[in-house]
């Protein structure tokens, strides 16, 4: 499939800022989709509100742009009504984890067969750069002009603890690894979650002396530690939260397991339950 068969050529060039990480992520999604030869007519992209939420509107497939934070709830309905469709949720860190925090932990708990690409730019980009639950400590945003007083989430670890089958974190400075991870996520049964740390130079970087996309990407690359180089056991949350607070991200595949998937029979005995009349 050509690039402009996957994306809508009549809407190109897209509206994202110069140097936005979303453009890179769009390229990697196309490559992963194409390499796996997935059927675009059997895929539905669901998104929420935010810059990342605008991405499915550019894809030449069924796309559902929903209300703020509820992308996973809509995706659950779509997947349960049509289990044969591939449902891919693409949304931002604020949309999925602030207002939508409840829905993503329940979707991960149910281990429903939905793929989630969470773009983490540490801010609320589309609305001008307010602080988000992923903003590192002490960084400047429009609603924390004297430095962020809150401590951020470790997104991928949260989802892994809730019960997802595949969890990985990469950045836009690692596009090849991201492509391979997306391919793995798209082919895993169960809840698959890929977090992509991305640059937002105009609304986040600019307020923290990283207004040039090149500087912001360099900052992300310097703050990303591969999982193989980490000295402690990645499963302990405390060290991860400490690193996260300073804006240091541990990248790699965090979880790969085979928990039972929502809606699929566990065994033959369980299939024969008789409902009440």
């Amino acid at each position: 499939m050509e690039f402009f068969e996957f994306y809508r050529k009549d809407r190109w060039p897209h509206q994202f800022c110069p140097g936005c990480g979303l453009g890179t992520i769009m390229n990697t999604m196309y490559k992963a989709f194409n390499d796996l030869k997935m059927d675009i007519n059997k895929t539905v992209f669901v998104s929420g509100i935010g810059c990342t939420g605008r991405v499915p509107g550019y894809i030449n497939a069924d796309s559902v742009h929903t209300t703020h934070g509820r992308a996973l709830a809509f995706a659950t309905g779509i997947k349960l009504a049509r289990p044969d469709l591939n449902v891919i949720v693409i949304s931002g860190d604020g949309d999925l984890f602030a207002i939508g925090g409840n829905h993503i932990i329940h979707a991960a708990r149910r281990n429903i067969d939905i793929k989630v690409i969470a773009v983490n730019n540490a801010t609320y980009g589309l609305t001008g750069g307010q602080l988000a639950p992923t903003t590192p400590y002490n960084m400047i945003t429009t609603t924390s002009p004297y430095g962020n007083r809150e401590y951020p989430f470790a997104l991928a670890d949260l989802v892994a603890a809730a019960g997802a089958n595949y969890v990985a974190r990469w950045t836009t400075a690692h596009p090849n690894q991201l492509v391979n991870s997306l391919k793995q996520a798209f082919t895993t049964r169960g809840f698959s979650f890929v977090e992509v740390v991305s640059q937002c130079p105009v609304n986040f970087g600019r307020r923290n002396k990283m207004g040039d996309p090149v500087f912001h990407l360099r900052w992300i690359k310097e703050h990303a530690i591969p999982i193989s180089k980490v000295s402690f056991d990645v499963k302990t949350p405390y060290e991860i939260l400490d690193l996260n607070t300073k804006g240091i991200y541990i990248i790699g595949e965090l979880v790969r397991r085979n928990r039972p998937v929502y809606g699929e029979a566990l065994s033959e005995e369980e299939e024969e339950s008789v409902p009440m009349e």
Binding site: S63, H65, F74, I78, L80, N102, H106, P275
Partner: protein, 357 residues
């Protein structure tokens, strides 16, 4: 599913069975008194009929899942009560904007806030029409017996698909729990997607058939591309989704009128209207106007009979349908208005109407 015949069912069970007969194959809900029995009954029965059930983590995700399933061409519904209905408002507006057919059953209870959990009220009448932000319309149905709950549930699905709009069925804690005889008819008319062509309503394409739909809650053009800064694009879209209901009010509205020549007219709906029948039987100069479709307001039928009448509005809330009845009544020459507003769970009784006559 229920075969044609007579049954003795409670309101909640009748609603669930009617939905199944109407073809509902997706249910997502969250427990809330007094609608929980509907969900409990659905949870087993819908899977017997090959449908899907999920109890979600809150009402917001319940309505979101219902809308998502409806977009794939599956008839879907949820049931809730006042507090849950308030939570659903944002996504209700989304369903109206994206023209997705869904059915919501609101089993009304005492409000505001947590209110009177197990006690009947009719306090959601205005919320069902004006609950969400912006310009949109809903179709709201109000049955007054278990048989009507059954019939209007099927009608709700038909209307939602015909008009590609959310439809709200106002049940209440009394109707939901009372048990009455109902008749399931031999033939039930169901409307399928794209069966009826109405001007101003585009053809429905479900997700997952390669239609390359671009669905969004933002103001959009015909292709679904968001265009938010153009005055004409917004006007065209929003006036179309409003007009498709208001201009078709004559075919949507369904009322029961008894004795329209009488000088005094009782206007009531739902459980409150049951008090009117003995009064009309006894007093020959009193009539009844009982809308089964509360919204859009049945103006085409009300204006015929309202001139020079004395109108008595009976409802179980402090300010509700009476506001609209007075507005339309005055427009068409009604003489006088009287209000019987009962809150707290006291169902109107015939003598309370007679005192006012």
């Amino acid at each position: 599913m229920l075969t044609p015949g007579r049954y003795f069912l409670s309101g909640n069970v009748a609603t669930a069975e009617a939905a199944l007969l109407a073809g509902c194959r997706f249910y997502a809900g969250y427990p809330i008194t007094p609608s929980s029995e509907l969900m409990e009954h659905m949870s087993g029965r819908i899977e017997n009929e090959g449908g899907v059930f999920i109890q979600t983590e809150d009402e917001i995700s319940a309505i979101a899942a219902v809308i998502g399933a409806a977009m794939t061409g599956t008839k879907s519904m949820t049931a809730t009560s006042g507090p849950g209905f308030s939570l659903m408002q944002e996504n209700l507006g989304y369903a109206a904007m994206t023209e997705t057919p869904i059915v919501i059953v609101d089993v009304m209870r005492g409000g505001p806030s947590t209110g009177q959990v197990t006690v009947v009220a009719q306090g959601d009448v205005l919320q069902a029409r004006f609950g969400s932000h912006g310009d949109y319309e809903t179709i709201v149905l109000a049955p007054n017996s278990v048989q009507e709950l059954f019939d209007l549930t099927i009608k709700a699905f038909n209307l939602s698909i015909m008009f590609r709009n959310p439809v709200i069925l106002l049940s209440d804690a009394e109707l939901a729990h009372m048990t009455e005889k109902i008749t399931v008819p031999e033939k039930i008319d169901l409307v399928g997607f794209n069966d009826i062509e109405i001007e101003g309503i585009p053809k429905f394409t479900p997700l997952g058939i390669g239609g390359k739909l671009a669905i969004t809650g933002l103001t959009h053009n015909e292709k679904g591309y968001p265009i938010t800064t153009d005055v004409q694009v917004h006007r065209k879209l929003v006036t179309r989704i409003v007009n498709k209901i208001t201009k078709n009010e004559p075919i949507i509205s369904d009322v029961e009128i008894i004795n329209p020549e009488a000088d005094t007219l009782i206007v009531s709906y739902g459980i409150s209207s049951r008090a009117a029948y003995p009064v009309i039987k006894k007093h020959k100069d009193v009539g009844l106007f009982r809308p089964r479709t509360l919204w859009p307001f049945p103006e085409s039928k009300f204006k015929e009979i309202t001139k020079n009448k004395r109108i008595i509005v009976v409802e179980m809330n402090l300010r509700g349908y009476g506001l609209e009845v007075e507005r339309v009544g005055r427009k068409y020459g009604a003489k006088d208005f009287e209000y019987i507003n009962l809150i707290g769970g006291e169902v109107p009784k015939p003598y309370q109407i007679e005192e006012v006559l």
